[in-house]
Symmetry: D2
Subunit: 334 residues, 4 copies
Amino acid sequence: VIVSLALGADAAAVRRELAARGLWIEAVERGAQAGDVFLVVSSYSAAVDSAEIAGIPGVRTVSVPVSAHPRIDEQGPVVDVGGVPVGANPLVFAGPCSVESEEQILRLALRLSALGVSFLRGGAFKPRTSPYSFQGHGEIALGWMRRAAHAARLKVVTEAMSEADVPLVAEYADLVQIGSRNMQNFALLKAVGRSTRPALLKRGMAATVEEWLLAAEYLLSHGSRGVVLCERGIRGISGGETRNLLDLGAVALLSHVHRLPVIVDPSHGVGRRDLIAPLSRAALAAGAAGVMIEVHEDPGNALSDGPQALSPEQLAALMPSLLPSSTPSAQVSR
Amino acid sequence: VIVSLALGADAAAVRRELAARGLWIEAVERGAQAGDVFLVVSSYSAAVDSAEIAGIPGVRTVSVPVSAHPRIDEQGPVVDVGGVPVGANPLVFAGPCSVESEEQILRLALRLSALGVSFLRGGAFKPRTSPYSFQGHGEIALGWMRRAAHAARLKVVTEAMSEADVPLVAEYADLVQIGSRNMQNFALLKAVGRSTRPALLKRGMAATVEEWLLAAEYLLSHGSRGVVLCERGIRGISGGETRNLLDLGAVALLSHVHRLPVIVDPSHGVGRRDLIAPLSRAALAAGAAGVMIEVHEDPGNALSDGPQALSPEQLAALMPSLLPSSTPSAQVSR
Amino acid sequence: VIVSLALGADAAAVRRELAARGLWIEAVERGAQAGDVFLVVSSYSAAVDSAEIAGIPGVRTVSVPVSAHPRIDEQGPVVDVGGVPVGANPLVFAGPCSVESEEQILRLALRLSALGVSFLRGGAFKPRTSPYSFQGHGEIALGWMRRAAHAARLKVVTEAMSEADVPLVAEYADLVQIGSRNMQNFALLKAVGRSTRPALLKRGMAATVEEWLLAAEYLLSHGSRGVVLCERGIRGISGGETRNLLDLGAVALLSHVHRLPVIVDPSHGVGRRDLIAPLSRAALAAGAAGVMIEVHEDPGNALSDGPQALSPEQLAALMPSLLPSSTPSAQVSR
Amino acid sequence: VIVSLALGADAAAVRRELAARGLWIEAVERGAQAGDVFLVVSSYSAAVDSAEIAGIPGVRTVSVPVSAHPRIDEQGPVVDVGGVPVGANPLVFAGPCSVESEEQILRLALRLSALGVSFLRGGAFKPRTSPYSFQGHGEIALGWMRRAAHAARLKVVTEAMSEADVPLVAEYADLVQIGSRNMQNFALLKAVGRSTRPALLKRGMAATVEEWLLAAEYLLSHGSRGVVLCERGIRGISGGETRNLLDLGAVALLSHVHRLPVIVDPSHGVGRRDLIAPLSRAALAAGAAGVMIEVHEDPGNALSDGPQALSPEQLAALMPSLLPSSTPSAQVSR
C-alpha cells in the first residue's frame, strides 16, 4: 500500500493514525518536488479499507496492490470435498505414510473412522529423496485405499507425482495431493487442475506465502474445483532437533486474514512422534482447518517414515483434544 | 546417539526396533573391518533410555552425547520469580513496548492486573535498529515501572542492554530480560549472571536450540538463579507477510522434551496485531509457560511498535481463551 | 566419521591430531562402560584417509559414512556434452531467458559464438511463478534454437519442464536442463534419465548439497550419461537487495572436494545486471566449470527477465576476464 | 523507488524502459481514481538517476527512499587505518584465532609480514558459544600483539567484546573488531564509536545488508573515524558441509554499488581449511577489499579453531594468487 501525503501534511500525525490501525510504515520516499512524500505501508497489518485510510487528514492518495491471484482470493474458506466441507469444522486426516497392503489399509481405515477421522491419507506413489528407497506400490495401492475408505466411510487424499498418473489418481482420490517438492512443478499443477478434482497443495520447503498462493492460482485457473493448502514445515535455521520449521504464523495469516482452508501436517513438520500431540493442538488453535497425521499400526515395520508415525492408540488418546465435540461412537454406528 | 552393531547382526531388524521407538537412523557408517557397522541415530526422537536400546538384539554398544550445558539440563520446568512460579500454570506478561511516563505505566499496570496479567513488561532501555530512533527513557523509567508494578501487584520484566546498567536493572526488575540481539553478547550474559536475578533469555534471530541452551548455561554458570526462555520468532524464508517465523516446534521441544519454561512473544514473532490472538492460543497449546504481549492504551501514540500493540480492550477479549480458569475479579480485590 | 578411542587414550591428544588434519569434533559421546568414548568428526573437513586417522595413537576404530549416491561419487569432474568437455576449461553458457523468434536466436547465437561462448542457453518451456505470465513458445522454439546453434557451432542447453516433453527436448538439446523448482520432481528426473542425454541439474532453492547429489543420483541411475550441476542461488536471509544467496562455498566444495563440474548462474543468483561481472569472475575463482549468463540484444524488449540480462556488448566487455586465453577472432573464423 | 504513471500512459512501454535500465517492477498498485497507477520498482537494480527515470514518457513522478544511514552512505570506499588505506588495493589480514603467547605472536607476525600480510589479526577476548571454552588471555595478549605488530610493521585488528574493555582495546588496536554476535549490541557499538578508532564490523549471522549498514551508522554517529565491513558467512540452508553461507553477492553489492570497503573472512565463512584458497580468490574477484585468514604455526595445538587454520606455508602458497603484484621481499626489507 502506497500513501501519498498532501502538501504540508503533518507526516507524524499520519504515522500515528496508521499505527492506530495496525499499519507499519516500511519506507518513506521523497519525490523531486519539495513536499512530495510517499509512504510505503507494509503488509504487516490487517486488511484495512483503503477508503478509511484515504480519510485520514493529510493523506492525498492511497493505492493498493493489484493481486496476482484473483481466483484463490475469491475462493473462500470452505472447500467441498466429496461432500465434506473442509474449512468448516476441524478435521483429522490420518493414515500411513505408504499404503502397504490391502489388509493393512482396510483394518486401519476402520479404526481411524471409529476415532472420528474424516480423511484417509496414504501414499501409493512416494516422493523419496534417494532413488534407492521404496517408491510406493503404485496403482494397485490406489485401489486398496479406495476400497478401504469406502468401507470405513472416509474420504481419500493421496499424492500424484507424475503428470501421467494424474487421471488415475484423480479417479481414486477425493482430494489430490501435490507434495512439497512439486509445489512449483507447473506441468503437474496444470495436469491436476485439468482433472477438476479438489487439490491439497503442500507448501514448498522454501516457498513464500505469495508463491504458494500463485501455485494455487495455477490449479484454479486450470480447472481445480477448490484448493486446500497444507503447511508441512519449511527449511530454516535449525540444529536438527526438529526436521523443519512449522510455520504456524503463516497458518494464522492464511486462515484469519486470507480466509482460506489450511491443513497442518505436524508429522513432516517436525519429524518426531513425541511432538505431534502439542503441535496438532497448536495448529488448530492457530486457525488450521485440520491436521494430517501419520498413523501406522506397527510403526517399527512401516515401509517408510515409521519413526514419526503414531500408533492408533496414540491417536485415540489425542483425538479428544483435537475434536472436543466429536462423538466417535455415533460415527462408528453409521 | 551412536549404536554399534554386533558382528552378524541383522541391521534391518535393529532399524525396525529403533523406528518402533521413534528413532531415525541418520547415517550408516562402516569401519575398516568387515562387519563393523555404526548407526548415527538422530535427535529427531524422544529421549529414550540408552539401556533400553542396548537391550535390542544385535546392538553391541550405545553411546550418548555428553551435554555441553549440564546446569540448564538440570534446572527443571519451573523458575521462581519473586514468588511467582513461572512454568507452573500459564501466565500472561503484558505492557507497552516503551515505558513512556509514570502515569501511563501506572494506569496500564492497574488495568492489566485486573485482567489477570502477572508480569508487567516495558522497555526503559530500547534496542533500536537505527541510531536515530527513540532509545528509551532509561533509569527514570525503571522507577516508574517498579512503582506501577508494586501498586498493581505485578512482577516486573525489563531489558538490560548494557553491562554497565545491569546492577541498576537488576535492582528494579524481578526478571532481567536479555534481548534477541544480545543472546550471544557474552559480556552481558556474564554480568546478568553475576546479578543472580532470574533472567528471561530471548532467542537470537538465527540461533539454534543448542546455542540458546548454551547461552542459558552462561547465565547459570555465572550466577543466575534461574533462566526462562523466550521464543520471539526467528529469521527465515518469508515474503514479508509476517515479520519473523514463530518457531512453535522449538517451544514444544523445549517444553515437552527438555522440560524448561518457555514464554512466547507473538507481538515480535509476527509483528502484526491481527494475528496475536490465534498465535497466543497456539503458543500455549504447544506447551508455552506463558505469552508476552505488547499492550498500549493508545497504540497510535506509542513511542515505538504501536502497530503491533493490542489495546487493553483487545487483551481483555483475549484473556479468557488464554487463562480459562482465571478469576480476574478476585485478583483485583487482592 | 566416527572415531572410537582406545581405553585410557588421551582424548586431548587425539583432538590435536585431528585438528592438525583440519578435522573438527562435533560431538563427544560416551558409552555405558567407563572409557567408551566416541568422537563424531564433522564433515567440515578435507577428505582424509581413514587409515591415516586409524594410525593416530589412541584411536581404536574409525568408521566412514556409507554414501547414498555411489554413481555421482564416481562420475568424475568432466562430462562430455556433444564433444565439449564440461569441467575441463572454463566455459561460458549464454543466451536469452526466452527464445522469442528464429531471427532473434540466430543473430544472437552468431554474436555469442564470436565472443567465445560455448553453449547457447534459452527457454522454450518457461517455469513462471504466475500462471498468467508468458509460458514460452514451446516446441517451435526448440527448432529455432537448434538451427541457430548449428549455424553458430554452439551446443544447446534448454529446460524440460514436463515428463511428456522430455523426448522432444532431448532430441533438440545437447544438455537437458532441470530447473530449480523441479530438482526433486522425481518423475521428471526419471524421464530425463531415461533419455540418456547429459543433464544440467539446477540446485533447488532450499536444497542441501546432499539432496542435490541424490537428485543427480536419480538421473544417473535412470540412464543419464552425465550430470553437470548448476548453482543459481538459494533462499535465505536477505533484505531483497539480491534476489537469492549465491552459494559459492558449495561451488568450491563440489569442485574441489567432490570433484564434480558445477556451472554458476549469476543472473538468477542475484537477479541484477550490475553484479553479474564480479560474480562471474568470483564463480570461476571458486572453482566453477563455467558460468551461465542471460544475454539479450534488447533487454528492454525481452519477453521475460529483461532487467537481469546483459547486452551482447556488456558480455563482450566481460569475456576477457572470464576466459583470459580465449581467442575470439580465431573462433569466429571457424 | 515508486513511479507513478501519467493518466493514459502506456504501462507496458514504461515497463520496457525500466527493464532496459535493469529495473524490476515488484508490484503494481492502483489508486481509487481510474488511471492512478503506481509501480514499486525494486532494489534489484543499479542505482539509476531518478531524473533519468522521470524523463521516460508516461512517467508522472519518481520518488526515492530516504536513507536511514546517511553517514555510512557518504563514507566512501577507502578507510585510513593507521596510515594503511583499506579499500585501495587488496589486503591480507592474517593471524591466529587466539593470541596464545608473546613468542607465538611475534614469530608469526614476522613470518606473515614477510609474506605480504598487512594486518595482524588475533583474539585476546574470545566469543565462545560455550561458557566452558577458553575465553582468551585478555589484556596481556593485547600487549603481546601490539609489540609483535610493531616489530613486524603490521597493523593490529582485534575484537572488543565488552563495553568496559573498549578503551583498552582501542589503545592497542588500529582497527577495533566487532564480532558477528555483537553486530546489534548497541551499547558496544556506541562505546566503540566513542573511542573514535576505525572499526571492523562483522555481519551478524542473520543480518540483512540494511541492518548491517544501520549498525555501521551507530558507529559513525557515535564517533568512529571509519567503518570497514566484514562478511563472514551467514546462517542458512546447509547440510553441514560448510559451516555458514559465505554471501559474496552481498560483498559485490556493497563494493560495487554502495562503494564501501568489505573484508571477507573465509575461515569462519566455511569453517574448513581446504576451501580457504578458492574462496579467498573468489572474494577478491567479487570486489572484497581484502581477506582475513586464520593462520597458526601448529594448527593441531591451537587453543581454538585449529581445524580451520592454515599453516604459514599454506598461506605462503596462496599469497601470489591473492596479491599478484606484491613483492614480499621488498616488504621484508623495510
